[in-house]
Each structure stands twice: as C-alpha cells, then as structure tokens.
Amino acid sequence: MSDVLNLTLKIWRQANSEDRGGFQTYQLSGISTHMSFLEMLDVLNEQLIANGEEPVHFDHDCREGICGTCSLMINGQAHGPDRETTTCQLHMRRFNDGDTIVIEPWRARAFPVIRDLVVDRSAFDRIVSAGGYVSVNTGNAPDANSLPVPQQDQEKAMDAAACIGCGACVAACKNASAMLFVSAKVSQFAVLPQGKPERDRRVLRMVAQMDEENFGSCTNTYECEAACPAAISVSNIARLNREYLRASLTSDA
C-alpha cells in the first residue's frame, strides 16, 4: 500500500446562510496517509488560496478531540468512518488511493449553515444556559469523602460529562434530535449530590429549550450513540426521560 493518496473531494460550498449552496469537486494529489483529515483540508485550502480561490471554511480548534469544534459529515457519516473519533482525530490512512470523499456540514434546522461546512451550533449553548449548570459556587476541592459519592454514580456522571458538544448526535439522527446531547448534560449532574437540588428545574428548562430550538424527537434508532465521538450511551436518554417524567409529576415548577 502506497502512503500517498490521490483523491477526489466533493465538498459543500455555501457563501452564507442565505445562499442555496451546492457541491464543488476538487482533485487533490500527493496526500500522505499520515496526515489527519483536517490537515488534508489545510492542503486543499493552501492550493485554493494559491489559485486565488476562496478557501473551504470548516470549524476546528483543538485538533485533539477534546473541544468538539470540528464537525464534518464525511461520506455520510458524522466525523467519518471511525467509532469514537472526531474529525480532527481521523487520519487519511482510513482512505484509499482514488477515493471520492463527500464532505457536508451537519444538517439540521437548528444548526443553520453559516458558511461552507461551518454551522451555527449556538442552540446547544442556549440549551446549556437554560439549566445545564450548578448555581452555587462549589468552592475549593472538598476534603476527601466529605460528600460521599458511590463509585458507580461517579462513573456515570463522568461518562456523561465526556460529551464535547460537537453535535454529531444531531447530525447522525434521522430526526435531527438533540436528545443524546441534552441527556448527557442532564445526566452529568442528575446522578451527583451537587446536582440534586436543581435537578427538576434543570431538566424541565433544558427540554423546553431543546423543543424551542426545533430539534426533532428521539425515535430510539440509536444512530447518535454510534456516531458519538465521546461514546455517550443512549441509556442517558432513558435517564432524561425518567428525570423529565419525575420532574413533571412531582416538582413545584
């Protein structure tokens, strides 16, 4: 296997949110298999700039899978073919010489395209602002075991907290539902003592905001879980449903 690839890229280009947009095809040669996917796009952009063309806009920041900024639909799969991998962690060795790669932005009514492959994910920020926090200042690290947390609960909270908010769940879901994201943001607090006091208010407000943003509803297809780079489990969605039901029936709000 040679470690240089010649590729055909079919990339969604859209000048702004009003523009109708469409696919453009680019030829790229001499791409090293050791490059990351985003580095490959960097090479393309350098070529475009050298030719006096507009580079392809795409979101990226940390490039090490922790910030959740990168967001590409690669050949119909959110973050590309690898499980538990963000676009920035995807490497060109996953592709073959002569491949055509289709690159699209996340598509959801709640995630309007800003430009090319960049979408506006501020709907997620608004959902978190609606209740995805603990209001009290938790101060310095407390003495060990002053607040007992069973190890399983701590694990569940940490697993949920692994969500990087990239939006792959929405992108992969046939209903563009944000329930995996919201369920992770609810669950990371719901199982911990620090999150309990605001538990009801949090879930009610976050779900209300989620609905306001026009995301779809979960039909338990579980594409989100498969696409999630942080391996957030759909059992969190069941917890979200339970939390919501409990809060609706018992809370004062």
Binding site: M73, G76, E104, K174, A176, M179, A226, I237, N241, L245
Partner: protein, 233 residues
C-alpha cells in the same frame, strides 16, 4: 394542570405517550390473539367465548372506547412527530450512512415505523369493516345463513370468522397486515421501554429479545388464522 399539558406536549412527553399507548395496544394484541386461538380449539368453544363476551355490553363498550382512545392518541402523535422530525432535518444529506454495527438492525424497522404503522392501520380498518361493522358486501356469505326452515339468521361467530378469513381480499389484507404488524412491533416494543425511561444494562438485552419474540408470535399468530381458514373445508 398546566404542568401536565406542558409535559405532554413536550418532545419527551409525546414520546412517553407514544410508548405507553403502544404498550397498552400490545396488551390488547395479546388478549385478542388469545381469544382467536379458540378458533383452533373448536367452533363450540369459540362461539361460546364470542357470545359471552358480547353479552357483557357494558364491558365491550368501555373496551371499545378505551381502544379507540389509545389508537387515536398513538395515531395523532405518529403524524405529529413524523412531521416535526422531518422538518427538523430541513435539508437532506447527499450521502448518509449508518455507523451502527448491530446486525439486528439490518431491516431498519425503526426507519419504517410510520409506513408500517400506516399499513397496520389500513389492515385494522378493513378488519373493523369486516367484523365490527359488517360493512363488507358479503351479506349472504359472511354474515347470514339460511336455516332448514328457510329462515335467514345471523351466522354463528365461528362460521362468520371462517367466511371472512376465506374472502380473497381480506385474506391478503390480513396476511400483509400481520407481517407489517410484526415488523412494527420488532422496533416498537423495545423502543417503548426506552421512551418510558426504562433502561438498565441488566434488562435491555432481555427487552430487545422479548420484543422480537413478541413480534414473531403476534405476526405468525394472526397470519396463521388466514392460512388455517384457507385450508379449512
């Protein structure tokens, strides 16, 4: 009251109602299938069962209203949710591929719930026209019979059922309906539990398997009556 309305009109609430109505309708399927199995026991037993059930007019009325409410809610939400979910995507992908690697999802029953549900609804309407409202234009054949003295009387439930099941239109509608019902249940049963918030690593596998088994039993069960009637002299 306000909070209840808010809860039931939220995305989570709608899914909850979808799940609970679905599971209650599964309960109805069990009862209906069990009753129908008496067809295999014998005409006498089946007729006895049908007569004693219909002699409880009150109970039948309550059950019918309850079932109608369940179906109406399930159907209304199916249309609502499907429209909303379609709208939430806005623009389709040029290319879309699953990242799941679970072979049991190969048939993608979860992506066909609206369509399979619609076929089941059509089946249900024909079935109600056949049995409940006796609307099918089959008078002499299905609903009435002539006694030795030349008097025209209602057929016994067993004879009526056999006549209707032998009808070439009903036969195919029922057969296709049963298969699609099984397909619908193969996702719907387990999905309902998740929507109701019931998920636990200890039981999830069991629920999924139970859903598939339930789908097979119900599908084969109902389809078998058509096959049985076809070969009945």
């Amino acid at each position: 009251m306000n909070s209840l309305v808010r809860a039931l009109t939220s995305s989570v609430g709608k899914k909850f109602v979808m799940g609970i109505t679905g599971l209650l309708l599964c309960g109805f399927l069990v009862i209906h299938l069990a009753g129908n199995l008496l067809l295999y026991v014998g005409a006498e037993q089946y007729n006895h069962y049908a007569h004693s059930m219909h002699s409880q007019e009150w109970l039948v009325n309550i059950a019918e209203v309850g079932l109608l409410a369940l179906f109406a809610a399930h159907l209304f939400l199916a249309i609502r949710l499907t429209t909303e979910n379609r709208a939430a995507r806005q623009q389709r992908y040029e290319l879309k591929k699953s990242k799941k690697d679970d072979p049991t999802t190969d048939l993608h029953a979860d992506s066909w719930m609206f369509i399979s549900g619609a076929v089941v609804l059509a089946f249900l309407l024909v079935h109600l026209a056949d049995f409940r409202f006796e609307l099918r234009d089959l008078d002499d054949v299905a609903y009435k019979t002539t006694t030795a003295s030349g008097e025209i009387i209602d057929k016994e439930p067993f004879d009526k059922a056999v006549a209707l099941l032998k009808n070439p239109i009903s036969r195919w509608v029922y057969l296709i309906g049963s298969v699609l019902l099984a397909f619908h249940l193969s996702h719907g049963f387990a999905s309902a539990f998740q929507s109701l918030g019931m998920s636990h690593p200890k039981y999830n596998g069991l629920i999924r398997v139970a859903g598939i088994v339930f789908a097979f039993v119900v599908g084969i069960g109902f389809a078998s009556f058509v096959v049985w009637a076809y070969y009945l002299e």
